[in-house]
Point group: C2
Chain length 199, copies 2
DNA sequence: TGTACATCAGTGAACGCGCGTTCACTGATGTAC
DNA sequence: TGTACATCAGTGAACGCGCGTTCACTGATGTAC
C-alpha cells in the first residue's frame, strides 16, 4: 500500500471535492485511512497543514497538466494560435474525463472558505492563479504578434479567462448537477479566441 | 429602524459575503442585530431557514437587476445585438460598483457548501441558474435571427457563459484580492459576442 | 371606560453533540558498539 | 552475536470549546365585550 500520508491526502481530496473542506472531519479521514484520530496528527500537525499540503499537491498537478497538454498541442502544430486551439480542445476533453469533479474545486473552496485558512495558504492560491494568468498571457502575446487581433484586447483579462471559465463552469456544474459544463465553457472560449485572432 | 427580520438578513448577507455561511454563527448575527440568540429563533426556525430566505432574496434582487439593466439597454437601442452589448457594459459597471463583493458569491457559496443545505435550497439555486440560461438564450436566439453567427455555436452554453464568467471572476477576485476581475471578464464576453454576431 | 385575554417579539439559562487537539504510552524496526 | 538505545508510526482516552437548538417565562401591545 502507498504510504499513509499519501493515502490521507487522497482520501481528503475526494472528500473535499464531494462536500468541502470544513465539512470533512479528521475523524472521518482517519477512519477511511484505517488509523486512529491521534495517528492522523502524527502526519499533519493540524488541519491547516493538511489543507496546505492538499493545495500544494493540487497546484503541482495542475501545472504539470497544463505543461503536458500544451506541449503535446505544440508538437501537433507548430503555429502558436493553432497549438493553443488544439490545447484548449484537449483541455475540454480532459475536463470531461474527470468523473468525480475536477480538483479546480479545491482552489474555489479555498477562495470561499479563506477565513479558515492561514495567510500562507491564501498566498499559495494567489500565486497559482497569477502563474496561470502569466502562462496564458505569454501564449496570447506570441499569437498576437503573428495574428493581429481583430479588436483591442486586454491580454491579462484574456489570460485570466481560462481560470475564470473553468472555475465558473465548475460552479454551474455543481449547482445544476449537470456534467460537462466546464468543457462546454472552454469550447466557447476557444471559439472566442478563434474569432479574435484567426483570419 | 427596519424590521428585525430584514435586519437579520442584511447582517447575514454581509457576513456570508465576507466569510461564508458556515463560518457565520447565529450568536454573531444575533449580537449584531442586538437581540439574544433565542430571539433569532423567533424569526427563523433554524439556520437552514435563514439560508433559504437569504438565497430567495438574492435571486429576486438579481432577477430584478437583469430586468432593469437589459430593459434600459433596449430603450437606448432597439437592435437586439446592440442592446445586449450595451446591457453587458452596464452589467460590468454595476459589478464594479459593488464594493463589498457581489452577492453572486451567495450562489457560489451555496454550490460549494451544498451538503449543509437541504434539497429545497439546492433546487432554488438550480432554478435560478436555469432561469438565467433561458433569459440569455432567448436574447441570443433573437440576435442570431438577425445576425447569423460566424460559426456554429451552442446557444445554451453561450447563455450559461454570463453566469459562468461572473462566478469565475468572483473566485479570481477573492483569491487574488484584486477588485474588478468580474467586470473585466464580462467585457471579454462582450467582445466575444461582438465578434460572433456583428459584421 | 375598564377588564380579560391573546398575540408579538423577544430573554436568558441550559443542553448536548461534534470536532480539533493533546498526551502518555506502545510495539516494531533500525543503528551503535 | 547480543545488548542498549533511538526513532517511527502509531493507539486510545480525555479535554474543552463553540455552536445550533430548546424551552419556560416575560413585558408590551392589540382586541373583544
Amino acid at each position: 500500500m502507498a504510504d499513509t500520508r499519501t493515502t490521507i491526502l487522497d482520501i481528503t481530496e475526494a472528500a473535499v471535492l464531494e462536500k468541502g473542506f470544513e465539512a470533512t472531519s479528521i475523524e472521518e479521514i482517519a477512519a477511511a485511512a484505517e488509523i486512529s484520530r491521534g495517528g492522523f496528527f502524527y502526519h499533519f500537525k493540524d488541519k491547516n497543514a493538511l489543507a496546505r499540503a492538499l493545495i500544494e499537491r493540487y497546484i503541482a498537478t495542475e501545472d504539470r497538466l497544463y505543461d503536458d497538454l500544451f506541449a503535446r498541442a505544440r508538437e501537433l502544430n507548430d503555429d502558436p494560435l493553432h497549438a493553443l486551439l488544439i490545447g484548449l480542445k484537449l483541455l475540454a476533453e480532459t475536463l470531461d474525463d474527470m468523473p468525480n469533479g475536477h480538483p479546480g474545486c479545491i482552489i474555489a473552496s479555498a477562495a470561499y472558505q479563506d477565513r479558515l485558512f492561514d495567510r500562507g495558504i491564501r498566498d499559495l492560491n494567489r500565486q497559482a492563479i497569477l502563474g496561470w494568468r502569466a502562462r496564458f498571457r505569454a501564449m496570447f502575446e506570441q499569437i498576437a504578434e503573428k495574428y493581429p487581433p481583430k479588436t483591442k484586447v486586454d491580454l491579462d483579462a484574456l489570460g485570466d479567462m481560462v481560470s475564470s471559465v473553468v472555475e465558473g463552469g465548475l460552479i454551474l456544474e455543481r449547482a445544476l448537477g449537470e456534467p460537462g459544463v466546464p468543457a462546454a465553457q472552454i469550447m466557447q472560449l476557444r471559439t472566442y479566441i478563434k474569432l479574435l485572432f484567426a483570419d
